[in-house]
Structure formats: C-alpha cells, structure tokens
Subunit: 591 residues, 2 copies
C-alpha cells in the first residue's frame, strides 16, 4: 500500500492499516486517521508522535506497558504481535545463548522493578542492520541507570522509532538518500587515530594518518558523486565543486568539519559534508545543472584537539590563520609546521585560500543538534536562528578556611557557599530569557575536608546568548551578582576571561529558505539557537549564513560514541537540502 492509497481509503480500512504501528494502542491511529490526507510519511509520523506527546501520562504509560519484554515470556510462548515477533527475530534474540538469555531476564526484572514498564528499544537499523545482541544488552545496562522520567521519554522515542520502521515496511519505503549518509558515516568512522583504534574509539585529529585517510576517502566519494573539481587545499580541507550552468556562476558554499573530538561521534561535523555530497550525487544522476555552483568543503579542523587552535579549516577560508600557531607543539612534541609538512600541506599557501565573498551566494551548514531539544520534542529537523555568542571565565573565591565545628555560622567566610549562590544566580538569570544559557561547569573546593569550612572555591562560568547584546547583558548581571555576593559575604574573588565569541545570527533570507525546506519535507518548522560554535560562525564574518539542525538520538548526546541519528532523519536532511537548492535556483534569473 502507498501513502496515496492510505489517504483515499475508508476510515475503517485506514484504521486497520494503521493498526500495529503503535503496539496494542489503537487510540493513536484513531487520533490521526481524520487528519488525512498526508503529504509525506514524515508528516504522518509526526502526527502520530505529536498525538502521543500530547496524550495524558497514564495513556503514555499504558502504551509503554503494552510492549513485550525483550526475549521475554510472551516471545517464548509465541504470543507477540506479528510486528514484535519479526523485530525480535531480526535482532537475533531467538539465537540468544543461555548466558545472554539469563542476563536479559535479570535486566528485564531489574528494569521493571525500577521503572514500572518494560524496556523498549528500537533494535533495527537500515537495511537489515541493527543492534547486535551484545549492543542490546549494553544499551539495556546503560539505560537501567537513567533517571525515571528521562527513561520514560527515551522509551516513548523508541516507540516512535519502532512505529517509523513499521510504517516504512508497510509503505515499502526505504530512506535511500539517508542510507547513503548513514553508510558514509559508518565507513568514515573506521579511520581513527593511533591508540584509539584498539579502544574502539573514534578520534580523528588534525593531520594524523587517520585524518589523511579521511581526506582520501572524502575525495574518492566526491569524485564518485559527480563533483567536477575535487581537491585537498593547503590547510587540509577537502573541497568539491559541482559546476553551475555557466563557468562564472556564483557559488553556494556549504560543508562542515571531518575532524572529531577524542572518543567522539560519527556525525558531529561530518553529517554536514555527507548531506550536500549525497544531494549533489542526486543532482548529478538527474543530470541537473543549476544557475549556481555548489562548493562543498570538508573542513580539516574545527575541534582544537591536537593544537590549541580551533576552526583551522573554516578560518582559512576567511583569511584567519595565525602563523604563530605553526610553532605550537602537540602532546607528542610535533609542531603544527612539522605536521603540515609531513602531510604535504604548505602553510605558505594558506592565505591564498581566502574566498572572495562577492563570488558566493552564502553559506549553509547541516549539523547534528548536539542537544536534547529536537529529540525531546520528537522533531527530526530544526532551523537555527543564531549561533550563540559566548563568554567564558575561570575564577576563584577566597574566604577563610576554618573549623567546621567551632566557627559559628555568622563568623564564616565560606568560599563554597559564595560560589553556590553564584551558580544558582546564573541558573535563575539565564532561565529568564529563551535561548540564553549559563553554566558553572567546573566547581571544586581544593583539598576540601569534611570538617573544614571551605576557604577557597574554584569555578568556571560559560555564558551564551543569541546576540552579543543579550550575552553581554547576561555577563554584566552575573558579574554584578558575583560582586554583590562577595561584598556581602566578605570574601574575595578573582576572575579570568578565557574566551569570548560573537554571536552569529542567521541571515533572515537564508533562515527562511531552511524553514520552507523543512515544511516541504512534511514536518513542522521549529526554530532554535545553536548553543555550540560551528564553522558557520567563521563564514558568518564574510557572507550570509544559516544552519539546519538534525535531531540526535540517545537524548541528543554528542562528543560521545553514543551520538547517533537515524537514516530516516538523514533522508529528511538531504531532502531539505535539495529543496533549499531548488528554492535558490527558482529565485535566480535564468541567464
């Protein structure tokens, strides 16, 4: 059956057809059947997910409890739904060893005892891939440690994912473009720096052998996708250009970084290379040429892991490359100059990488959200309003260390409670404005003792907002609060600013293009700021830019091997990118 058939079917037939997407919970189908027709599977999926989101908690709980245990008694007795039987079979749960079966039963019991509903995990990946039994058990063990309401949300998200996979099966849909993205991420993640390979961790830092292997791989893929020019530039960026209709056509610039943090994820940065790469592959296969060229850059470096310098790749495109960096040494004593020479990069050519903005329409970047917002709202895509401006400090409050038993409360100069007051102020102040965040991430009483009133307390401050004005207002309020707290408590403080970055608000016209592109995929527009920095921040200095965020799984975790997306969400990203390209093409005068 196709989506069209569903749209045109009788109410009863449609209900029958939708039945089984949400285990033993016909109320979900009931709620969405009358909202037909659906323009896309994504729109239908979203309608169902939002129905569950808005349902009362007891109905949500009943939905979770309607699910069978993994390899549980129902499976043994053959009493699962057809869908569950197939899923548990595909996950190889029938082939459990006695030890695995015993462990799963232990886990099932502990989980039910702790949370009061069965453990639910979407075990299938694209095209028959999926979690192995060992991975299922590891996921089970990890989630058993979660906080109850976070785990409640995680189970509902897995229910939605299961429904999504079931819907794909029923409609015979395959996220073909998303699968290509998924495959690229899997393959590129096979390259990892020496020392991390044996740990099974993904770490690709600037110009290591693994980093250079990534360059080679990206070049090969770009060539395969049909890019007309593919090069590695002086700083290590992999640059692919898909020509426009005319040689002098302006260019759309896009891309993201392929380096990673230590023990990082497969999508941070890389997703923003794969998505336009797969989109160009589509254009090339369709033989389409646009009134503009598409220049996809795999930026060599963004994370600042090997050297104390960040945005080496995107910085080079706007003429920012500090030659003093060349003398920095990595942990092994190798200078950046030596590393570049070894990798065949010529720092003297880096200034020539600076782009002429007049030749570019603008810059767009697709990136995994690296946060919980989209996943908690059950939305696959989000449009970035601004890359937050930020300022960071490290500080120390000095009071007087004294005996916890013999110093009356009114004679204390407690450094830790002073910082505690600051941390709560930061939390409260940041919460007063949407998109504004403030964090005391480091907090420690050096050599603290159980029976000593803290005489010193070290802390950090990380303050971010969607504009420099909002950031500065936040910073001024926080600094004034610290001053007041120190004054009132009779303690001293020192504070060192360690970083300040300007906000990069999205160019309105470009943000609107992403919004239209999202709507075209069938999911609602959701706007959010980017709390983290991205390559787009650099390009922002010279041309209009806007970013698209893609939902991350596992609660949105990033800089972590648990970072993940689904191939269905990847599919929507490629579709959105192609739609943005279409909009641009339509808006440009035919020469």
């Amino acid at each position: 059956m196709s989506l069209d058939t569903l749209n045109l079917a009788s109410r009863e037939d449609a209900l029958t057809w939708l039945h089984g997407l949400y285990e033993h919970s016909p109320w979900v189908a009931e709620a969405v059947v009358d909202r037909r027709p659906y323009a896309s599977a994504a729109q239908l999926r979203n309608a169902m997910a939002q129905t569950v989101r808005e349902a009362p908690r007891d109905l949500q709980l009943a939905l979770l409890r309607a699910h069978p245990e993994l390899a549980g008694k129902l499976a043994e007795r053959g009493e699962l739904t057809a869908e569950s039987t197939s899923e548990q079979l595909r996950a190889g749960l029938k082939a459990c060893s006695p030890e695995e079966l015993a462990r799963l039963r232990e886990l099932n019991a502990a989980y039910l005892e702790k949370f009061g509903w069965p453990f639910i995990v979407a075990v299938r990946g694209p095209r028959g891939t999926g979690l192995t039994r060992a991975e299922i058990i590891a996921t089970f063990e990890r989630r058993l440690l979660a906080l109850p309401d976070a785990e409640f949300g995680e189970c509902l998200r897995n229910v939605h994912r299961i429904a999504e996979l079931r819907l794909n099966d029923k409609l015979g849909l395959e996220p073909v473009l998303g699968n290509q993205v998924w495959d690229c991420a899997e393959l590129l993640a096979q390259h990892t720096d020496a020392g991390f390979d044996t740990l099974g961790q993904l770490t690709v830092t600037y110009l290591t052998p693994a980093h250079q292997a990534c360059q080679v791989q990206l070049q090969r893929w770009m060539n395969d996708c049909g890019f007309d020019e593919v090069t590695v530039d002086a700083v290590g960026n992999v640059v692919g250009v898909y020509h426009g209709k005319s040689p002098d056509a302006p260019r759309l610039l896009t891309g993201s970084h392929y380096d990673t943090v230590r023990n990082g994820g497969k999508y941070d940065g890389r997703l923003g290379i794969f998505v336009p790469m797969v989109a160009v592959r589509e254009l090339h296969q369709q033989g389409r040429r646009l009134p503009f060229a598409i220049e996809v850059v795999g930026f060599a470096e963004e994370e600042g892991q090997r050297y104390k310098a960040t945005f080496l790749g995107s910085g080079a495109l706007i003429g920012q490359f500090d030659t003093a960096w060349l003398d920095q040494r990595d942990a092994g004593g190798i200078t950046m100059r030596e590393a570049m020479a070894e990798a065949g990069r010529d720092p003297s050519l880096v200034p020539s990488l600076k782009r002429d903005p007049s030749k570019y329409l603008g810059f767009v970047e697709v990136h995994i959200e690296q946060g919980p917002v989209l996943t908690e709202l059950d939305l696959p895509l989000g449009v970035v309003t601004s890359i937050n401006g930020s300022v960071r400090f490290v500080g120390e409050v000095t009071g007087v260390a004294s005996h916890a038993g013999t110093t009356p409360m009114d004679r204390r100069r407690d450094a830790a409670t002073a910082v505690a007051e600051l941390a709560l102020y930061v939390e409260l102040r940041a919460a007063t404005q949407p998109g504004v965040v403030g964090t005391v991430g480091m907090l420690t009483v050096p050599d603290g003792s159980i029976n000593v009133v803290p005489g010193r307390c070290q802390f950090s401050l990380d303050l971010r907002a969607g504009s420099d004005e909002l950031r500065d207002a936040l910073m001024n309020d926080v600094l004034a609060a610290l001053e007041r707290i120190a004054e009132r408590r009779g303690v001293l403080y020192s504070l060192e600013e360690t970083m300040r970055a300007s906000a990069a608000p999205s160019a309105p016209a470009w943000q609107l293009r992403w919004e239209s592109a999202v709507v075209a995929t069938g999911v609602p527009v959701f706007r959010l700021p980017s709390g983290a920095g991205h390559d787009a921040m650099k390009l922002h200095e010279v041309m209009p830019q806007a970013m698209l965020f893609v939902r991350g799984g596992n609660g949105g975790i990033s800089h972590n091997p648990l970072e993940t997306i689904t191939s269905d969400d990847a599919q929507l990203s490629v579709e959105a990118f192609l739609h943005l390209v279409d909009q641009l093409a339509e808006a440009m005068p035919t020469p």
Copy 2:
C-alpha cells in the same frame, strides 16, 4: 605603681598613668578611669578592650592609624612614642639588614595601599622573647593577603595585646604561671615525628619515637611539679596523681591529649595537661593538700592520625578499646599491635585502665578554643556549655552531563546546582539556632569541564548541635531538603553516614564552677558550645564533666602551626583552674 595605687590615684593621675597604653588615643583611658577600682589587671584590660570594641568604627580606625609603621619613617626620625621605640628596638628592627628594611618598606606600602591603615603586630613574647625579624616579615606577608575587615579586627586585637604588654610593664606584673605553661608548650613541641622535623612542622602521632619522647618529658615534668605517682599506662597515657589529704580521698580527674594532627599547633590538647600540672606545682610549693586527689592524664591519642581510631587514651579510661583496632596498619604497614609492643605498651592490660566513676568527683578539661569566638569578642576565657553532637555524611548527586551550550536551562539535570541549593539550605538552616552549625566542606564536580553541565557532584555534610535533639532536627531538615531538591530537579542522590557522635552537655554544677572561676580572674563569663570533639566527650559517658576554653590567637586558628595563645591568657587559665579546685575544696566536708 601597683593596681591598688592606680585604683586610689586622683582621676588626673590615673589618666596620666593609663596614657600610652593605647597609642595616641586618650579616649580609651577616659572611658575606663571612672570605672575604678579594678580587682585585677585582667579586669582593667577587659574594660579597655571592650571600650574599643564598642567604639564607632571611625574611632577604631583612628586608633589603628595612630600607630607607627614598623621600621618606618617615624622610627628613622626618632619620632615614635617611648613605648613604640622600646618595642621596635626589642624586636630587633633597628638591626634590620638593608634587604629586610627594603622588604618591610615594600610591605608597609602595599599594606597601607590595600587596607588604609598601618600594619600592627604585637612583636613581644614572654620575658624578652618575641617574633624574630624573619617571623615579623612572614606575619606581615600572610596578613597582607587577609580580607580587609578580618584584618581590621586582627589589628585591633594586636593593639589590645600591645596594651596588655605595656600594662604588665607598668605594673611590674609577670604572668609567672602562664610563662611556665608557655615554656612547656615550646619544649614539648621540639619533639616531632620523623619526616616532619626537617620541615619544621609539629606532628606527634601515636607511639612514634617523638610520641614516646613526649611521654618521658611529661613524666619528668610531673615528677618535678610534685605529683606523688607518675606512670605511663598500657595505652600510653601519662598519669600523674597528686594525693589528697587522705589516701582514700576521691579524685578530680583532668587532662587532655598530647598527640597532634599533622603539622599541628603546640596547644591543642597539651594546654589541658600543662594547666593542671602547673596548678599542682603551685599547690605542692604551697604544701597544700586537698580533701581530694588530683589525677592529671596526658592522653596518648585523640586525633586518629596514625590509625583509623580516635580517643584511644580517654576511651581506655571508660573501657572503650576495640581489639580489632590492633590489626589496623599505619601508612608504613605497621599494625597497632606491633607499634604498642615496640613502645612497651601491653594491649592486654588496656581493659584494666577502666576507671571506677564512684571514686571520682568529675572530669574537667582546659582546651584552646580552636575557633574565632573568644578572640573576636576580646575575651580570654570561655565556659563550655556542651560538646556538640555531630553527624557526617558524604554524598553524590547524579544528574545528566550535557552540553553547556546546547542544553536549554529548562532541560537540565545539573548535579552541581542541586548541591549548591543544598549547601545554601544548610547554611541558612544552621544559622536559625545559636550553637548549631552545618558545613558542606567537600564539594567537587568530578572531571568538570567549562562547557559541560555537571552530571555528578560530590559533597560532604557536617552537622553539629549542642544536643542530640537539635542535631537530629537539623539533620532531618537537611535530609528532607535534599529529598525535595532532588525531586524537584529530577536528579538522584546517594548519601553515606560516616560518623555520628552524641552531644555531651556540661554538668550544670561543674559548668557553674568554671563560671565562678572565670569571674574570680576578673573577666566576664562567656558561655559557648564546643564545636569540636574532646576527650571530655568520652569521660562524659561515665562522670560529670565541664570544659574551659582559652582564646586562641591568629583568629583562633587551630590544626595549624599558627595556633597560639598568650602567656597572659595561660596565666588566667591556671588561676581559673586553681579557683575551681578551691571551690571544690571549700564545698567538701572536712573529715
């Protein structure tokens, strides 16, 4: 001139005589002259100190500013008061090297710049001793780092100390008994554990060679003082008995510990051995025998530094000695059993040390306050109302570590702000009742990063109050607050109780004896709880007890080499002890 002459002198003569005690500040003399007669120098000193205490801040500041700089311009030009000239001369400041003079001038300038008044330090100790030039410079450097209002108080206290020394000079008074205490403390502090001697640090832990040298020294002194029986018992306590009139006379038990913490002070514990020792010396020299015997115990161990066991000395007297402790090993792998054998102590005899309470009148203990209360109130002595009961916990809050930039404020599970809220609650709750204290002394976000919302935060809780009921009420409130905070913030916590000790309220009759004794010395009675634990806590379990606190210098710091008292305060402690003995003697029926 004697105190009697001053009491009887004309107002004008008395003012002239009092002039110069407080540098260029005749208002202090004016305020006290009409309160004559004074029963003791201590009473006069107290009247002057309280006058300054209650003066407006600008008058106090003028008093500080009336003092000359150390080795400053006035000294060079010979324009100091006679008193200052003599004091700076005795401190050897005339003999400064050019380097020392340059350093003092730098310090004078920096200090004046920071605080707005000159650095004031009482440089004289008993009988011509005092701070060396190097010590003066070290004190100067340390106090330059202080918080302004704490340093303001410290300067005023040094002004009082200078006045006290000047008054002694004028009256030809010498704190003879206090000097004996002072000398004992200095001499006993020459024994320190191996490894600490080269650091110049005082550390005497259970049964080390230094500890055994202290035993020998204490025995020798007790014999010299006229004790009738002096022994070292099976646990290492040094026990001196000064017989009463009859062999079957009941006994007054007193004493404190002679072991120290690592890098500790000279008075913690030891003062409570020296004071009754010097008092017995007085009684013996006067040939007085009382209707009761005095048993002074130098307890071998209280601090729990070498082994994880505390109160070994006083515990043995009440039959508390856990034989499991004997198998504990110190950091060097030596068991307590081996250490005892090596030192000639026989653990099998420890049970025989248990005292029969019916043979004792009660237990009294003199101890340095180890807190800021008395020194900040300019009071030399304080009467303890209760040794606080306490309970300690270590705990950890678990939230969710997440990206500080990308996690909106309303989606955080910040473990550190949860603990911050707890720490502020503890502070606020403890402050609602006098004598109750609560401290979060350890506080740390493990592996915290500037850009990560804390997922874990470890902390400690130390809660104390004058009675078990107050302590438990405090504890219940704090635990309920933690529960509420965790519930509201959606974080988890774990908490482990590591210690619980019952409160030991002073026996009212014995507290009253100390109060009368304090009044007899000429200073007002001030009652305060003991926040720290003391040997009296152990004896409390079997007999009435009460403690006397002696003011500590340097802000009341303890467990620190800066711990100090004056020989004048030590003198008052001995006088108070003798007075308590007199009261007891008077109250007992003559046989």
